[in-house]
Symmetry: C2
Subunit: 356 residues, 2 copies
């Protein structure tokens, strides 16, 4: 696409927030990117405009039938003032995978990356510089037909909004306690589990609330057919280290193909670690723990990068992993990926794209 | 609740549409009902205001995490000018069932029915009178926190909008051709299938598009575990008449507890027909057809009330049901329920509530 992105600057820039107290996803920058889709016309009118509310008819399809997809990635500012994105093309490619499942028209991947970079560049002063902070980028598409019939919409909005976010681990990484969910199901093969679409998150809330009430940080999801095989942890992919082999559930259609997941696999393999993608049952984890061969467990995702698992509760059977401490593999993956993302470590993988 | 509903009338009433060309869900009336929820304060400020767009921050949770529920029912105007609702309390009770799964706070059922009646009464001139037409009522709740974190929202909007809709069957009821879907899955036990929430509809679009491309009106969903048991047809519940017994899938957590489904069961049982709710496999339907005992098949839902199935295609095996004609049970259920709904038949069940 050779679209020109029009830019309309705000007349009322907001004051920048305190970098030491950013939280996550609550503060938004001065501008946003919007592009419209109209059946027969395609995507049109890409523009950067002042951040502000959307005006939508109450019958707008996304409110009723949830036809929508989204992505999440981060921009980092290096000590020298360079602005770095981590594998942004992967996110925009994944939007189209999600779009296919949701019957939403494809976006042009290269143009979407360019739109993202252009917006980040406009907002470069919003990227926090304190250790561990970043600018969270949220691309998303919503169905906008004002119509209550159940069918794919004929109009959409593709938007990108930005939020400066705080360090995920302010006081060092603490392994979390995870509740193995055996009642509720997140997704099943043939469903929408591999698509980054609102319905998956809506479906997961009840188990998250239950886990928190029981004193756990998140849930470990099992497959919806046999409640036997491990799927994801909360909204992250999950890895286990058993007998010096790192194992993660294979992509069978019910879990998200995480970009941090893929980067973790590539990084570990490049470092000579054996990584296997396969079905792995919760029983196997408990057996490995009993045999003394379960060394580490951790989640991977954009928000935390790595989240070590210190404890599992499966039907009341509680096991501690690595004495509840962060393990060497988790530490290595976390330090390397965050180092590359923030420009402090050399990027030998070609993962970084600079915003100029 | 003893809430007072404030009413602000529009200064610019729209002109009423042509009653013979209404379609479905495209035209909306002059007013809408809104009530807000704020954590710690509960539901507040119920009001009827001029119909118009919602102004929502782009980070509003419903766009990203799909936390929302909805309902659908109809108001009818009798030849004498009475306004009738069909079992409205059932819809408002079901909203709370959906709310529980979606971690949305309960609404007060009686108050919601009152809100619905009050709005319909304000818009009584919008209820079409032509044969088969009605006023479609869409109550819905959306999560409104401007926040990108994944957790239940602390604020919501409960709204009711109204749309005059045309006769579903303008040229008489024609049984439809249905494609038995064996690749995509709508829902699974432990998931959100029994909740009337956007994610279920988003998940279903791809199969609907595929069926239409193959020349079929809708899909028949099979269970997500074994792809063996029948679940729903499109967005309707489904019934089969075999050997003078009417069978419908039991509510196992993955299908919607339809109000037309329940009314059909109650009506048929009151008429001396044997009705069984149980698991029923697609193989059993094909076996019954081969044995000559499959007499009828039909879907039930608010939009069409009854939709007879004339043909099934399961992995290329095509069977015709009742020679592709509407059967006596479908006709009886359709005539009786639409007769009661429109005030033309006596309501011996106490299903009707009049708006005064």
């Amino acid at each position: 696409m050779s679209y020109q992105i029009s830019i309309q600057k705000t007349q009322n820039p907001k004051s920048k927030p305190d970098q030491n107290n950013l939280g996550f996803g609550q503060i938004f920058t001065d501008h946003m990117f919007i592009m419209d889709y109209t059946e027969g016309k395609g995507w049109h009118d890409p523009r950067i405009v002042p951040y502000g509310p959307l005006s939508l008819d109450p019958s707008t399809m996304v409110f009723h039938y949830g036809q929508a997809v989204f992505e999440g990635l981060k921009a980092y500012k290096t000590p020298e003032g360079r602005i770095l994105l981590f594998r942004p093309k992967k996110n925009m490619e994944r939007i189209n995978v999600s779009n296919d499942r949701m019957c939403i028209p494809h976006i042009d991947v290269d143009f979407a990356v360019e739109a993202c970079k252009t917006l980040v560049n406009v907002e470069r002063d919003w990227i926090p510089e304190a250790e561990g902070t970043s600018l969270y980028i949220r691309p998303f598409i919503i169905a906008t037909d004002p119509y209550l019939g159940v069918r794919p919409s004929w109009t959409y909005k593709f938007m990108i909004i930005l939020s400066p976010v705080g360090a995920y681990y302010k006081e060092g990484i603490n392994p979390v306690k995870i509740y193995v969910e055996t009642e509720y199901v997140r997704a099943v093969k043939g469903g929408i589990g591999y698509s980054k679409t609102p319905g998956n998150y809506a479906a997961s809330l009840i188990a998250q609330v239950k886990a928190k009430e029981l004193g756990y940080t998140q849930v470990l999801w099992l497959d919806g057919v046999e409640k036997k095989y491990i799927e994801e942890v909360g909204t992250m992919n999950v890895f286990f280290k058993i007998n010096d082999e790192v194992i993660t559930p294979s992509l069978e259609g019910s879990i998200l193909a995480g970009i941090t997941r893929q980067s973790t696999i590539e990084l570990l393999r490049a470092s000579g670690v054996k990584v296997t993608e396969r079905k792995i049952s919760i029983q196997e984890i408990y057996d490995a723990h009993a045999a003394g061969t379960l060394q580490e467990a951790f989640g991977t995702g954009t928000a935390a990068v790595i989240s070590p698992i210190g404890e599992l509760n499966w039907n009341g059977n509680i096991i501690k992993i690595n004495d509840g401490k962060i393990g060497e593999t988790s530490t290595f993956v976390y330090d390397t990926i965050t180092g590359i993302q923030s420009g402090k470590k050399e990027d030998t993988f070609g993962w970084i794209e600079e915003v100029k």
